[in-house]
Each structure stands twice: as structure tokens, then as C-alpha cells.
Symmetry: C2
Subunit: 309 residues, 2 copies
């Protein structure tokens, strides 16, 4: 057991780099972490696993950006609930050769984005193996006094609003996005949000999830969907709109509000630096449609699905 | 997108099998889970990743026992803090072919052991890829009114006690153990526990962790260490004691108590069905030793270490 090279040396390295955090009573290095929850607020919990070759290409992205993404996708899930992030845990399956350097870069990437939201990494699990890189982050958040926003509260007649623009995230945004944590909290303060989701699978697929959970349907307005520059830059024969609807990993928020609240939000634009747009509305018939030049056609809920057979 | 075969069909399957749980306000199927934490108790959080080929051999163990172990190692960490398990999250990286069947077996294994401790699986993340099987479980627990037991409270003169017996876990116990959750809670009620750890890396290695965190040393008494039948059955030229000291994955508890409390615990044996033994004592000099036939020799803190270079 050569401690200088093993997981314990890395854990020591981590402990030296872990700043004290107000709510983390016990951080890395014990059997488990301990977090102060004396507020009694609801505990929001989410977990995401990123797998080399499936969720990222390590040689292209580099481990720092992979770490960043692993943390950011979880922050985005907390945002989709309009929660406040509290603390994270991270597990890694590292290559045996060069794994220490990868681990340090992953950690720095995770810290880079977690620090923006005052979210300490309170613990984790370090492993090495002969397989590809795997990283799993679990994030705990807390509900505000307004409660959380679920997927299931959209009602026919509600407006469908979105932050930011869609499509082409593979050109960079899927790794480098900033999760809409602050924006979700601001929106939740500004108006009652009936339902919300962050767009990871794809705009059409995720609106479809909202509809399924809310037992209603939605019509997307093709002309109104904000199309990202990256979607126009794809240049692969598919239209920018097609990219916006299907690419996924935009990590923008789409949400349902009453029409009056939608109007108010569009006029006041209460979140700084990100444009709010109305991209459609909810209808009572289940399913999703795209309205384009006055014609309404069914929209396949395209998006990324992990195949399982 | 063929929903019938993809991750969403599996999530639907999971949702149908997820019983309502008192504290889980939002379970699988939203952006995140929501857990009632109105007690304000300290939130204990731990996470463990199991990797095929490194932590288990899938063809030997089968997915159900892998799922069982993935949940049980986390329950064991909560036990080591003398905490009460509350709810779990699970992430999986599944093979693309046959992944659905593997996922169902993993889930059944996890539920089998989690149900013993009334611990709902409140959410997770399902992925498929071309790599080996990966499973990560995160477990949340809560501190009792007695607080948690850390690794760092052992004092010179304290007795070192252990539950159960050690060695040879690779013959089966490493997959099929029952985590000492109830035993830890009973011990914590019966006497002040100064420090505790669950034996995963190896008895010597984990006692060494206790010593390092407590800035003291320990002498293990060779004649007193309870040796598991499996350690004697290994028959590989190494002594049963050697197996007991170094094999790891026994998932028994070792802990430090004042001598008077140690005497009381050994006499009263307050935990049912598991024998408590004194296996050594803590000393002021840092390091660990084995006392055998009156001779004290330094003990290398053998045990499993994930190599990283």
C-alpha cells in the first residue's frame, strides 16, 4: 500500500482544498458527510452520471470541462425545481494510469461551477479501474418558502415560456453552460410557475415530458422559438429550427405560467442577461404540435433517449 | 424515439414499483426528488460507486446481488456514523444490449436490502453505454438526538471493540452482508461511542484510519480477533488471521469506547445475534501494532487501495 500514489493521498489533497462551509459539519474524510438542516426546509435531491464515450468525449472535452458539466447538469436539475443548491457529493471511476491528474482536473472543474453557487463538495468516492471515465454527482438543494416547481402543474391555456435560445449545444454549450439557478429563483419570485423543466433531452422531448406529467398538450410556435447561433452554425443539412427542437443539452428552462403572468414576465423581463420568450401554449388535447405559417402539425418528441433492450 | 424500449419505459416501470413513502414528497419522474426534512435533524450523506471488474464480477455475482451490495455499502457507511437511513438515489450505466433486464435485477437487489431499513429509492439516473456495468448509490440519513459518531474521537486507553468476525468475505459475505445499521443505533444508545468505522478496506487498514483521524495508535490483540469461518476456508497458504486483518469488505463495525463502557458492553452484549469482542486498545503513540504471544510488532495497514498515478 503506497499511500503516496493511492486514493488516500488524493483524499488528503481534496481535504486540503476543501474550504470550511457553514452548513457542512463533517466534510470529506469520514464515513459520511454531515450537513446542517436545522432550517427544516424540504430537501431536494438529484443525481446524474456522465459516462465517457456516451455523454462526453474525454479527448475533446478534457477532464476539467467534464467535471464542470457533471456538476452543472445537477445544478440545472435543482434550478428546474426552483430550488437553492446546498451541497454536493461526487463519485469517480478513474483510469489507473494518469488517474490522479484526471481526478484533480475533474475536481477543479466541479469546483469552478459549484463555487459560483456557493455549493460545497462535501464528500464522495474515489475508484480506479480499467474502464472508461465515469463521474457521478449528487446534489442536495432546499426548497424556498415558495415550495418547488414540479413538471405536473401546466394547465390548458397556460403560456409556454423559455429562457435563452436552443440548438447546436454540441458545439460547446453542452459543456460550458451556466445552469439557470438564479434565473429560476427570480422567476419563481416574479410569478407563480405552474410547471418547469430544464431542457436536456431536447426542447420538443422536454415539453412533451411537461405535457405528459400535466396530462395536457402543447402547441409550439415555430416562428417564436429562439434559435441559438450554434444551431445556425451546424451546417449539416438539417434546419436550425430542427436543431433547436431536437438537439437537447441546452440547459435552458421552459415553464408554464398563466397568460396574465406570461404577459407581465415578457414585459418586465425580470431576469438579467437572459431573454424570456413565449414559445407556445398549453392545450387540453394531449400531444405536442408545431404551428408554422398558420399550419399545425404533430411534432415527434425528438430528443436523446438512452436505449435499453 | 421508441419509448417502449428506452429509459423512459424503464422509469415508468420504476414508478409503478415505487411505493409511497411518508417522507418522499416527490419521487422518481420529476427533475429531482423532494424529501421532507422538517425534523431539522442533521443530514448524513454518503455515496459509493461500484464498477464491474473492479468491485464485482458480474458473471459471478449476478446483477441482483450487485444491486444489493451497492445499497448495502452505503447503509454500512450510515451505520458507521450511527445514523438512521432515510432515502436513496441510484445511478446506473447499463449495457445497451440486455440492459433493461440488468436494470430490473439491480433495482430488485437494491430494494431487497433498502426495504429492510425502510429506505425508499426516491430517484436516480438511467444511462446506457458500451462500457462495463457501473452503479452509484447515494444515501441520505439523519442523525439521532445523540448526534453522529465520527472517526476522530478515539483516546489513548480506549478499548477497541468489534462486531462479528473477519476475513474471507470474498467467498460471499462481500455481496450478501447485512449492514450493521440497527446494531450501531443500539450500541450508540448503550454507551458513548468515541469513534467508529465500518470495515471495508480491511481490519488493519480501517483501524489505522481511526488512529490517523484520532491522532493516536492502537494495539490489536491477535488472539482476540474473531476469525470468520470463511477466512479459515480460504486455504491459499495465508493464515486465517492474515485474512482477517487484510481482506476487507467485512462490513463489521469497529469502535472506541472508554474501558468501563467496554466492560459493560462485553458483559451485557446489548446487540442481538452479533457477538461483541474486544480486539485491542488505543495507545498514545501513533501507528498500529499486533500483539501475539506477548510480542508486539508493527502491523502494516494492509487493505484495498484504489491505485492512482
Amino acid at each position: 500500500m503506497e499511500e503516496s500514489r493511492g486514493e488516500f493521498a488524493f483524499i488528503d489533497w481534496l481535504r486540503r482544498r476543501t474550504p470550511t462551509a457553514k452548513r457542512v459539519t463533517i466534510g470529506p474524510g469520514d464515513d459520511a458527510a454531515l450537513l446542517d438542516w436545522s432550517s427544516g426546509a424540504g430537501c431536494i435531491a438529484t443525481t446524474d452520471m456522465l459516462l465517457e464515450g456516451s455523454c462526453f468525449v474525454l479527448a475533446e472535452a478534457g477532464p476539467r470541462r467534464v467535471g464542470r458539466k457533471a456538476m452543472a447538469v445537477n445544478l440545472s436539475d435543482i434550478a428546474a425545481m426552483a430550488g437553492r443548491p446546498v451541497a454536493a457529493l461526487a463519485s469517480v471511476g478513474l483510469p489507473r494510469r494518469g488517474g490522479r491528474a484526471v481526478a484533480e482536473e475533474l475536481y477543479q472543474g466541479m469546483r469552478e461551477i459549484a463555487d459560483l453557487f456557493d455549493t460545497p463538495i462535501m464528500g464522495g468516492d474515489t475508484n480506479s479501474w480499467d474502464g472508461p471515465l465515469v463521474i457521478n454527482v449528487t446534489l442536495l438543494g432546499e426548497a424556498t418558502s415558495l415550495g418547488v416547481v414540479r413538471r405536473n402543474g401546466a394547465r390548458p391555456g397556460d403560456w409556454l415560456l423559455a429562457t435563452g435560445a436552443f440548438g447546436g449545444s454540441i458545439l460547446g454549450k453542452h459543456l460550458d453552460f451556466t445552469p439557470r439557478v438564479q434565473e429560476a429563483l427570480q422567476l419563481h419570485q416574479a410569478a407563480p410557475l405552474h410547471a418547469m423543466i430544464d431542457v436536456s433531452d431536447g426542447l420538443a422531448a422536454d415539453v412533451f415530458h411537461l405535457c405528459e406529467e400535466s396530462s395536457c398538450g402543447a402547441v409550439l410556435n415555430a416562428e417564436a422559438i429562439p434559435i441559438a447561433e450554434a444551431a445556425r452554425a451546424m451546417n449539416d443539412g438539417r434546419s436550425p429550427l430542427d436543431h433547436a427542437l431536437g438537439d437537447g443539452e441546452d440547459f435552458e428552462l421552459v415553464f408554464a405560467v398563466a397568460p396574465d403572468d406570461g404577459r407581465k414576465l415578457l414585459q418586465t423581463q425580470p431576469i438579467s442577461a437572459v431573454l424570456l420568450t413565449q414559445i407556445g401554449e398549453f392545450v387540453s388535447e394531449t400531444g405536442i404540435w408545431l404551428a408554422e405559417e398558420g399550419v399545425r402539425r404533430p411534432l415527434p418528441p425528438r430528443g436523446y433517449v438512452h436505449a435499453l433492450d
